[in-house]
C-alpha cells in the first residue's frame, strides 16, 4: 500500500493522534509529579514552570499532572471499550451476514433492539448499580452497549461479499464455515473494520467523559471527565479558575477531533484510486461537466479494501 498522494487530512490527524498517544505514554515520565500529591493551594494560578504550569485544582493538585494521567486513562478506556465493541460487532455482523437464514434474522433482531435503546441511559443505569467502578468495568460496560452499530454495518458488507465468486470457489475447495469467514470474507472488510474501530474509540472516550462528569466515573483513577466533574462541582467556572476546566476540555476536543479526522481520511488510505494527487488538486474543477459526453461515468467506489489495485488500462477485459 503506497503512501503517495495521501490527503493532508491524514497527515494532520495522524500527527495529532501520535502527539496525544505520546502525551499519554511518556507524559507521566516527563511531568514527574504525582497527580494526587498536593503541590499548592486551592486554584493556584498557573506559573512557570514544572508542576504548576497549569496551576492547581480544587485539592491543590497539579492540573498538568492530572491532565497527562487523565489523558492516559481516557485513552485506555477508549481503546478497551472500542476493542470490545468492534470484536463483538464484527463477529455478530460477519456470521449473520454470511450465514443468512434464521440465524441472521435472530442476530438482526437483537441488533435492532440494541440500536433502539438509548445507550447512554443503559450505561448510566448499569454504572450506578456496579459494585466496583474502575476503568476496566467501565470500559466493559461501554463496549457492551456500543457493538450494535458495528454489527449492523459489518453485516451489510458481509452479506454483499457472500455473493462473490471467490466464496463459491472456497466452498468447492472444501473450506469450512469459519475458514471462509476468516480468510475469504474478513480480509475484504478489514479496512471497514479499522474505520469502525477508530469511530468506536472516539465514541467510547466521549461516553466515559460523560459518565465521569455525572459523577459515575472510575473511582480510583483520574480521567479527563473526572477532572471536569471536580472543576464544575467546586465552582471553578464561577470563580474564573479557567485552568481547571479549559485544559481537559481542550484535550478531549482534540482527541475526538483527531480521531474523527483520521477516520474520514482512511477511506483514501485504503482506496488508492480515490486519492487525487497534488497535481489534480491544483487544477480547478472543470466547469460544464455535462459537456463531456453525459454518457461517461465515473469510477464506482469499491467496497472496503477491494479497491487496492490499480490498472490504468483495464476496462473489464483482462490483460494478457
Amino acid at each position: 500500500m503506497s503512501l503517495r498522494g495521501l490527503p493532508p487530512r491524514f497527515w494532520v490527524s495522524a500527527t495529532l493522534v501520535g502527539f496525544i498517544v505520546l502525551v499519554a505514554v511518556i507524559g507521566p515520565f516527563i511531568v514527574q509529579t504525582d497527580p494526587n500529591a498536593t503541590v499548592g493551594g486551592l486554584y493556584d494560578r498557573p506559573r512557570c514552570c514544572g508542576a504548576l504550569l497549569l496551576g492547581t485544582d480544587n485539592e491543590g493538585q497539579s492540573v498538568l499532572a492530572n491532565l497527562v494521567y487523565g489523558t492516559r486513562t481516557s485513552l485506555i478506556v477508549g481503546l478497551i471499550a472500542g476493542a470490545i465493541a468492534t470484536v463483538i460487532g464484527l463477529l455478530v455482523g460477519l456470521v449473520g451476514g454470511y450465514r443468512g437464514g434464521w440465524i441472521d434474522d435472530v442476530l438482526t433482531a437483537i441488533t435492532n433492539v440494541g440500536l433502539a435503546i438509548p445507550a447512554i441511559v443503559v450505561i448510566i443505569l448499569v454504572s450506578v448499580s456496579l459494585p466496583k467502578r474502575n476503568i476496566y468495568t467501565l470500559a466493559l460496560v461501554i463496549g457492551l452497549t456500543a457493538w450494535f452499530w458495528v454489527a449492523r454495518a459489518v453485516r451489510a458488507q458481509s452479506s454483499s461479499v457472500r455473493t462473490r465468486e471467490h466464496i463459491d470457489v472456497a466452498r468447492l475447495s472444501g473450506a469450512g464455515f469459519w475458514s471462509i469467514l476468516a480468510r475469504d470474507v474478513l480480509p475484504y472488510l478489514l479496512s471497514y473494520v479499522v474505520m469502525a474501530f477508530v469511530l468506536q474509540v472516539s465514541g467510547a472516550i466521549l461516553f466515559e467523559s460523560t459518565l465521569s462528569m455525572l459523577g459515575l466515573g472510575p473511582g480510583n483513577a483520574t480521567s479527563l471527565g473526572t477532572m471536569l466533574y471536580w472543576a464544575i462541582a467546586w465552582g471553578s467556572v464561577r470563580t474564573g479558575a479557567w485552568w481547571a476546566f479549559v485544559p481537559p476540555t481542550l484535550m478531549l476536543t482534540l482527541i475526538v477531533f483527531a480521531l474523527l479526522l483520521l477516520q474520514s481520511s482512511l477511506n483514501e488510505v485504503f482506496n488508492p484510486r480515490l486519492r487525487r494527487g497534488p497535481a489534480a488538486r491544483k487544477k480547478a474543477v472543470t466547469p460544464g461537466a455535462p459537456s463531456e459526453a453525459p454518457l461517461v461515468v465515473g469510477e464506482p467506489t469499491p467496497v472496503g479494501a477491494a479497491g487496492m489495485l490499480e490498472t490504468p488500462t483495464s476496462t473489464g477485459r483482462e490483460q494478457r
Binding site: R164, E165, H166, D168, V169, A170, R171, L172, S173, G174, A175, S179, R183, D184, P187, Y188, A306, M308, L309, G316, R317, E318, Q319, R320
Partner: protein, 267 residues
C-alpha cells in the same frame, strides 16, 4: 458411452408470487462419460443457472439429478463435500474467482489439504503441469498474473481433486480470443488424456463447434435442441438454433443485413 450424469425435468424458479422468474424450465439432459458437452445459450437462457444447479451451489425447485447412479438432487453437508471430490468447476471471471489476498499457493493449499499428505503435494505439481504451469507460480498474487494465467490456475485448482466431471461456466468469455484457444486446448487435452467429462457452458457457438462432442441449445430456460455437434451446428432443426447460426457474425463472410423499418406512430 455411458452417462455419468443425468438431469431429469429440472426446474428452477426465482422469487415468489406474481414476480416469479423461471430461469430453467423442465430441462432434461445427460452427460456422456469422457465427452465434452456444451450448453449454448444467450444471456437469460438459464445456462449459468444450470451450472450452479449441477454443482449443488443452488437448490433445484423441482426435478432430479443423478450422478454415477446416485441421486444427488438434495445434498448437504458431508454428502455434498463428497460430491465435490468428483465434480468441480471453473467460473467466468478469473479476477473475482480469486481471493485477492491469497497467493496461488494458498489457494491450492486448501485442496491439497483435502487430498492429504504426500499425495496432495504430488497432485499439486501434476495439476499445474496439466495447465502448462510449474511450481514457480505458487508465490504469485492474482494481480501479478494475466487473465489467461489466472484461469489456468483455476483449472489446476479444479483438477486437484481429480474430478470426474468438470464444469466450465463461460470460462473463456472474459479472455482475449488469442488466449481463449489455449484454454480450449487444455480442456480438450483433459478429455483425451484423463478421460474427463466436461460440461462447457458458453454463448459462443464458434467455441462449441471447436470443442464439443455434443451440443445442447437453450433459449429462455428451455432446452430447444440437443445432439451431436455435427448435427446441431450443420443441420439444425429448431428455429432458434437456425436463427442463432444465421445471426452469428463470421470472419470470412459478411452477414446479410436487412433494411431498417421506420416506425410510423399513429398520431
Amino acid at each position: 458411452m455411458s452417462a455419468i450424469f443425468a438431469a431429469e425435468h429440472i426446474t428452477k424458479t426465482f422469487g415468489r408470487g406474481r414476480r416469479q422468474v423461471q430461469a430453467v424450465k423442465d430441462v432434461s439432459f445427460t452427460l456422456a462419460e469422457g465427452q465434452v458437452t456444451t450448453i449454448v445459450g444467450e444471456s437469460g437462457s438459464g445456462k449459468s443457472t444450470i451450472a450452479r444447479l449441477v454443482l449443488g451451489l443452488m437448490p433445484v425447485t423441482s426435478g432430479k439429478m443423478i450422478f454415477q447412479g446416485k441421486d444427488v438432487t438434495h445434498l448437504k453437508g458431508r454428502a455434498r463435500a463428497e460430491y465435490w471430490r468428483d465434480v468441480q468447476a471453473v467460473f467466468q471471471d478469473p479476477f473475482s474467482s480469486f481471493n485477492q489476498f491469497f497467493t496461488v499457493g494458498t489457494l491450492l493449499s486448501r485442496s491439497m489439504r483435502l487430498v492429504g499428505g504426500h499425495v496432495g503435494r504430488q497432485r499439486l505439481a501434476e495439476s499445474l503441469g496439466y495447465v502448462g504451469m510449474d511450481l514457480s507460480v505458487l508465490g504469485r498474487y492474482p494481480h501479478q498474473l494475466s487473465g489467461g494465467q489466472r484461469q489456468r490456475v483455476m483449472i489446476a485448482r479444479a483438477l486437484m481433486m481429480r474430478p470426474k466431471l468438470l464444469i466450465a461456466d463461460e470460462a473463456t468469455s472474459m479472455l482475449d480470443a488469442s488466449l481463449r484457444v489455449n484454454i480450449l486446448n487444455v480442456l480438450t487435452d483433459l478429455r483425451d488424456e484423463l478421460g474427463m467429462t466436461i460440461l462447457f457452458i458458453t454463448h459462443d457457438i464458434g467455441q462449441a463447434c471447436y470443442l464439443a462432442d455434443r451440443v445442447l441449445v437453450m433459449e429462455h430456460g428451455v432446452m430447444v435442441e440437443q445432439g451431436r455437434t455435427d448435427q446441431v451446428i450443420f443441420n439444425p432443426q429448431h428455429e432458434y438454433t437456425k436463427r442463432l447460426l444465421a445471426d452469428v457474425p463470421k470472419l470470412h463472410e459478411a452477414l446479410e443485413l436487412e433494411e431498417l423499418h421506420e416506425i410510423v406512430e399513429p398520431s
